[in-house]
Amino acid sequence: MIRRTFPILGVLTAVLLSYGLYEALIGAPTEQSMGDVQRIFYYHAPSAWTAFLLFGINFVASVVYLIRRSMKADIIALVSAEVGVVFCTVVLVTGPIWARPVWGIWWTWDIRLTSTLVLWLIYVSYLILRRFSSSGQTPLMAAVLAIFGALDVPLVYFSIRFFRTQHPQPVIGGEGSIDPKMLQVALINWAGFLCFACLVCWSRYRLELLQREVEETEALEALLDSRKAQ
């Protein structure tokens, strides 16, 4: 079943992403005040939604790992954090590109920008921990850190919200109402991004699973060899 589902998902992703690209560049109406620059929105916002969703999955998988100690939950946590950081990076790169022509500045310590940046920092430190800890304990340490990170999110949000109200600065233009066509295009792109994220996560999951099996086999073989030598 996996053999068939994977290519189907791949084709679906390609179709959705190309349709989304067409709609974002040509189909969607041009925004009145910002002009064509606003079209980056169709990549910026869906990436952010995908990243937040993946970080949510990471948290749930980490909790499941702590309760059940299942290797699959750990791999899901790892994979979702990796892909989440990639999407979050896309958000942090497209944001300033959009902000510069519209607000006249690359960066502002706005609540959404800053929270996203802090979230990115937390998950990068998560990945660094995974890279540096001794292999047997990695899943547990990582799961604990993921829970700390998740606990931090509301505190980050509130602190930055209050921080900003004290330092008046250019604010993201009050969106008010969004053109239904624009929302539709953004949602199409989001669907494409989600499929793409699924695809990447899935391949990464299989790769990681194989890698761990190989490591396990190698360890067993080494053990057998040492027995034989004796």
Binding site: S125, I128, F132, Q137, L140, V144
Partner: protein, 215 residues
């Protein structure tokens, strides 16, 4: 319950006595913080008005870096002796005391170098520094135990601790600035710090056993 308190008290008094005799952590922390203060005051040459606005940030960045020095040593001794089951709270209190001592020594220096005088209610600074220090120390002690199980553990601690501490650091710095300048009320930030402390102290206590027993 009382058995646990006794063990915690014994562990705490052991750590304090060891530190009192060697003064390893406190000396290196003090000298490190002093260096930070001196380098900062070379880099900025502010007037009293300006310094009041940036001092909150400078003070806490210096304390944060210096605290890492102490936090990194938290479990070193236990690692040598192969007993990691010392109680978490005792270690955290020990570190809390070290950092508070450091702050007591360093604050006069900051006042001298930056010509500081609080324009807001100064007694609130005590609350802010107690809460802010605990926020750094409770997670720091926890992550120090975690980074024991990593390669290059000395560098791991700040990498884990700083991102998680951003809200606490922001709250501490903003509250300090609020009190020093007297421009706005520090109340919200103190409440936020208290909430941060409650959340993370609980999380540390609940998850410490798990981290300790990791094989």
């Amino acid at each position: 319950m009382s058995a646990i308190t006794n063990v915690a008290r014994a562990s705490l008094s052991k750590d304090l006595r060891l530190e009192w005799r060697s003064k390893d952590a406190i000396n290196s922390m003090l000298f490190f913080a002093l260096l930070v203060v001196v380098i900062f005051s070379f880099s900025f040459d502010p007037t009293a008005e300006e310094s009041r606005r940036i001092a909150g940030g400078l003070v806490w960045v210096a304390f944060l870096f210096a605290a890492v020095v102490a936090l990194n040593q938290t479990w070193a001794r236990e690692l040598r002796n192969q007993v990691l089951d010392a109680l978490f709270l005792a270690k955290a209190f020990g570190n809390f005391i070290f950092v508070i001592v450091l702050e007591t020594f360093m604050t006069p220096l900051f006042i001298v170098f930056y010509n500081l005088r609080a324009l807001g209610p100064a007694y609130q600074l005590l609350i802010v520094s107690a809460l802010g220090t605990w926020a750094l120390v409770v997670n720091g002690t926890f992550f120090a135990a975690m980074s024991l199980r990593t390669r290059s553990r000395e560098i791991m601690l700040p990498l884990l601790l700083f991102p998680i501490s951003i809200p606490a650091l922001l709250a501490t710095v903003e509250a300090t600035t609020a009190i020093l300048t007297g421009d706005f009320s520090a109340k919200f930030w103190i409440v936020l710090l208290a909430a941060y402390n409650v959340v993370f102290t609980t999380a540390c206590l609940l998850l410490f056993d798990t981290v300790l027993k990791a094989e």
